[in-house]
């Protein structure tokens, strides 16, 4: 059985890879391209740790076959900062101590960025429901919600 050749854009770079038919995008990101910033918590789309953007849509990379990435644009947590300049979400996660172990953090950051792209001024309730697909076991979510609201406020200010 020969492997499939796939051409994509990942975090702004054009990338090519070979994959098996059954490999997920998450498998390829982590084990073929060695981009391990995107995490696997469940492999069944329940925890959100593997969240990435696919053509500006939030998806679980564990639920998508790598072969489906052909010609698509993928953004991961590893592309969020611009060089040394952290994205406001990343900065506020640090300032608000919104991570403890940090393994769910990449998924939360990507999902929160997707929220703010659609809704720059979400209520606490809207943030809570949008992030309900991301599990965190350490923080009780309190500081994560505060960090997202603070980042949203800063980003609105920056736009104005």
């Amino acid at each position: 059985m020969s492997k499939r050749h796939v051409t994509t854009t990942i975090d702004g770079e054009s990338r090519e890879f070979l994959c098996e038919d059954e490999q997920t995008l998450l498998d390829v990101l982590r084990d073929v391209l060695m981009k391990t910033g995107t995490k696997e918590g469940c492999g069944t789309g329940d925890c959100g740790a593997c969240s990435v953007m696919l053509d500006s849509r939030l998806v679980c990379s564990c639920l998508m076959l790598a072969a489906e990435a052909e010609g698509r644009v993928i953004e991961t947590v590893e592309g969020m900062a611009e060089g040394d300049r952290l994205h406001p979400l990343q900065q506020h996660f640090l300032e608000e101590a919104a991570l403890q172990c940090g393994v769910c953090t990449p998924g939360f950051l990507v999902a929160a960025q997707a929220l703010l792209a659609r809704n720059p001024d979400p209520s606490e309730r809207e943030v809570r429901f949008w992030l309900a697909g991301n599990l965190c076991r350490c923080t009780g979510y309190d500081k994560i919600i505060r960090a997202v609201l603070a980042a949203a406020a800063e980003m609105r200010g920056a736009d104005a």
Binding site: E95, L99, T105, R137
Partner: protein, 754 residues
């Protein structure tokens, strides 16, 4: 030199909220967790697991699997050394190396669905998975037992044929693996003098720690016998010790490199994969990587014990607790070692009883071996005792916080588990809760407020840390404890405080097992407390050396030299220009060489933690769904080094407890197969389930710590279950004695006809 004390008003860093040293790595995806390591020519390995709850293994045939193209090595129980019975230290879940070895790979018999039988290493994980299907296991299925009540029935199937109760005299084999008893006075006689006695029984189900990162490791055994393991765990020294013991290796042959850990909560204080990966690497001559699926995590790791607890408390009409007695049965799983001893110790710990006794039993069932989970054993005990205390307050018509204050443990009180309390902050914590606006806030229809308290010991154990002065005057600290929730920050802050330098000038690294002295696990809420104490001690030794070096440069008596604000000075002679850390460091080669120190010790003087939680719920009478609408958690932290991470521990613990109270439970079918081994059906709290969790830190300094620190991580999971249950009681008038308080159970109680 200046000795900073907890009363020092000049603290610059302690109590502030700087960004954690490992923060940028963790928000950019660069931090490497257990599954993020790879080596050239690496193999992938998978585990074959038992489909039966209880069966004898007649034979295992791996020939066909071994013949599959790409399969490089297979190990079964026969390939691991026989281990003699010897007690291992696994926190509050005592176990035996022989049993640990049998749990890692079954010998002769499987004890639960998911029990590991064989492991296969192959060129890809897909090939390893395919090979599992080619292994033929001939089972003789045995009758199984799935709950503590059936397990202690006279005709129950024996989980272990030859295991006798370890308490005292030789007994016939049974499923009671251990019994504990503790207390003082004569409760039985004392109940007669009580005006009110409440006697109730409670049950809780097994729950999983629920860390988001599955267990993962990479092992490489060299031809010279040297072994390196990269893995995430709560202790690289624990992984080294257990793996070496189970494989018959010398400790010096094994180096464990700690990865970042994606949550543990007690569940990563033992080995599952590491001995298998090493054995497969030894056989294949190649590095071997193993990563559990979430289903494997649920079926074969954790959980916290299911429990049955009976509590009896007698009180006078005036509200004085006269006597307490408790009977606790905890399910150990298929191997001995539940947290029942810790549960028995904590159950009456918050209160001053003249007569108190608890009886605990560790019971074998055909379920996964239980593991430590945050304040092991205490949350279920608190559910029972705090529910009874709530009922007593209601019956006596006394405010529930007043009743607790009236009976609160404090300095000098004889604890129910033995020692007399030193300075503790339970009274202050209760008073803070009572004075908080939350306690008097109005409630609407179908809403109720619950209050509950809890205690945790915290652990000292063995710690080591190294502190080095770099040539540019920056400081490197090496800790031997994985940073599970911000301990790099608290260690750096204490070091910065000692040296009187900027926090940013301190780098903290987590050393591998060859880089720093031995450390017990990151557990028992002990890292900031105990390893922190070693960082302070090593820093003070380094400061003494810095003073000596400055004295040498100045040719003055070292007694005249003082260290303050990052500089050595001679206070009695202002013609001598102070020497800064960088100046002394740069010149170290001329004054005696590199400047560094390490400190090691068995840390004593842990300050016990007390927590009091207020919970408001709203119960939907149509569906039985319970929503937590307001939550405030109060806790004595001793001294909060980094208040944000102390709050984070309190908030996280509270939410784990809320999940345990409302939704989480292992559900087994009759054959002993877990029916909900995934996050969809094992329902942990998500963001939309919760309000903000207000954390209120009380600081009653621990007199035995240089900065007054008590541990903080575990106490916050102790009160939430009864806080929720007491709130539901207030909202509905129904006392729930069985967890979880899921919609069907609540609805059934509200409307028995439904």
């Amino acid at each position: 030199m200046t000795q900073k004390t907890r009363d020092d008003q000049t603290l610059k860093w302690v109590g502030t909220r700087p960004i954690r040293p490992d923060g940028v790595e963790k928000v950019t995806g660069r931090a490497r967790y257990g599954a993020d390591f790879a080596r050239p020519d690496m193999l992938w390995a998978k585990v074959l697991r038992s489909p039966h709850a209880h069966a004898r293994i007649r034979s295992i045939d791996v020939r066909e699997a071994l013949a599959l193209d790409g399969v490089k090595a297979i190990v079964t129980g026969d390939d691991l050394p026989e281990i003699a019975s010897e007690q291992a230290f696994v926190g509050e879940e005592p176990t035996d190396y022989r049993m640990m070895s049998q749990n890692v790979l079954a010998r002769g018999k499987v004890g639960y669905v998911g029990h590991a039988i064989a492991a296969v290493a192959a060129t890809t994980s897909a090939v390893a998975e395919e090979a599992l299907g080619l292994i033929e296991v001939d089972y003789e299925i045995l009758p199984h037992v799935l709950d503590a009540v059936s397990a202690i029935a006279p005709d129950a199937p024996l989980v272990h044929d030859d295991l006798c109760d370890r308490k005292g005299e030789k007994k016939a084999p049974s499923n009671i693996a251990n019994e504990v008893e503790m207390g003082h006075g004569d409760p039985e006689a004392a109940f007669a003098s009580a005006d009110f006695v409440i006697d109730r029984s409670f049950t809780t189900q097994a729950v999983h720690q629920g860390y988001i990162e599955p267990h993962a490791c990479l092992a490489e055994a060299g031809p010279d016998g040297q072994v390196t393991i990269w893995c995430s765990s709560q202790g690289q020294f624990m992984i080294r010790g257990y793996t070496a013991k189970l494989l018959g290796l010398d400790l010096a042959q094994v180096r464990v490199v700690p990865a970042e850990i994606g949550g543990g909560f007690g569940g990563k204080t033992t080995v599952y994969l590491e001995p298998l990966a090493v054995a497969l690497s030894q056989r294949s001559g190649r590095p071997v990587k193993m990563v559990m699926s979430r289903e494997e995590v649920f079926r074969a790791t954790g959980p916290a014990s299911a429990s049955r607890i009976r509590v009896k408390i007698g009180a006078t009409r005036a509200g004085n607790f006269v006597a307490g007695e408790a009977w606790l049965d905890y399910e150990a799983g298929a191997f001995p070692g539940s947290s029942v001893a810790a549960g028995s110790m904590t159950i009456f710990a918050p209160y001053a009883f003249e007569h108190a006794r608890s009886h605990g039993r560790d019971i074998l069932v055909n379920k996964p071996k239980s593991a430590a989970y945050r304040a092991p054993g205490a949350p279920m005990a608190a559910f029972a005792v705090e529910s009874v205390v709530d009922d007593l307050a209601r019956q006596l018509e006394i405010d529930p916080i007043d009743l607790r204050l009236q009976n609160a443990a404090q300095e000098g009180v004889q604890s129910s588990f033995g020692p007399r309390y030193k300075r503790i902050g339970f009274v202050e914590t209760l008073e803070a809760a009572q004075a908080h606006p939350h306690y008097d806030a109005p409630l609407k229809a179908n809403q109720g407020r619950g209050v509950a308290a809890g205690m945790w010991f915290n652990a000292g154990l063995q710690s080591s840390a190294a502190v080095m002065v770099n040539a540019d005057g920056s400081i490197s600290v090496i800790s031997g404890n994985p940073d599970i929730g911000g301990s790099r920050a608290s260690l750096a802050m204490m070091a910065a405080e000692e040296f009187g330098i900027a926090y940013e000038k301190v780098g903290v690294r987590i050393g591998d097992t060859a880089s720093v002295g031995y450390n017990d696990v990151t557990g028992g809420s002990r890292v900031t407390l105990a390893t922190g104490k070693m960082v302070v001690e090593a820093s003070r030794q380094v400061i003494a050396q810095l003073c000596e070096r400055a004295a040498k440069v100045w040719d003055v008596d070292v007694e005249r030299v003082q260290w303050a604000d990052g500089k050595a000075t001679v206070p009695d002679d202002d013609t001598i220009k102070p020497l800064g850390l960088a100046e002394i460091a740069t010149g170290a080669g001329r004054t005696g060489g590199p400047i560094q120190a390490s400190a090691s010790g068995s840390v004593r003087g842990v300050g016990m933690s007390f927590a009091v939680h207020l919970c408001d719920v709203e119960v939907d009478p149509e569906t039985g769904k319970v929503d937590v609408i307001r939550y405030t958690a109060f806790q004595d932290a001793g001294r909060a080094i980094h208040p944000s991470y102390v709050e984070g521990q309190i908030q996280g613990g509270a939410v784990q407890g809320i999940g345990w109270a409302l939704n989480e439970a292992y559900v087994f079918d009759e054959s002993g197969r877990l029916e909900n081994p995934g996050f969809l059906d094992y329902r942990m709290p998500v963001a939309s389930d919760l309000p903000m969790i207000d954390a209120v830190i009380i600081e009653v300094a621990n007199p035995d710590h240089p900065y007054g620190v008590r541990g903080v991580g575990e106490a916050p999971i102790v009160p939430p279950i009864p806080a929720v249950a007491n709130a539901v009681r207030a909202a509905t008038g129904v006392r729930f004695s069985d967890l979880p308080l899921s919609p069907p159970r609540v609805l059934d109680a509200l409307d028995p006809a439904s």
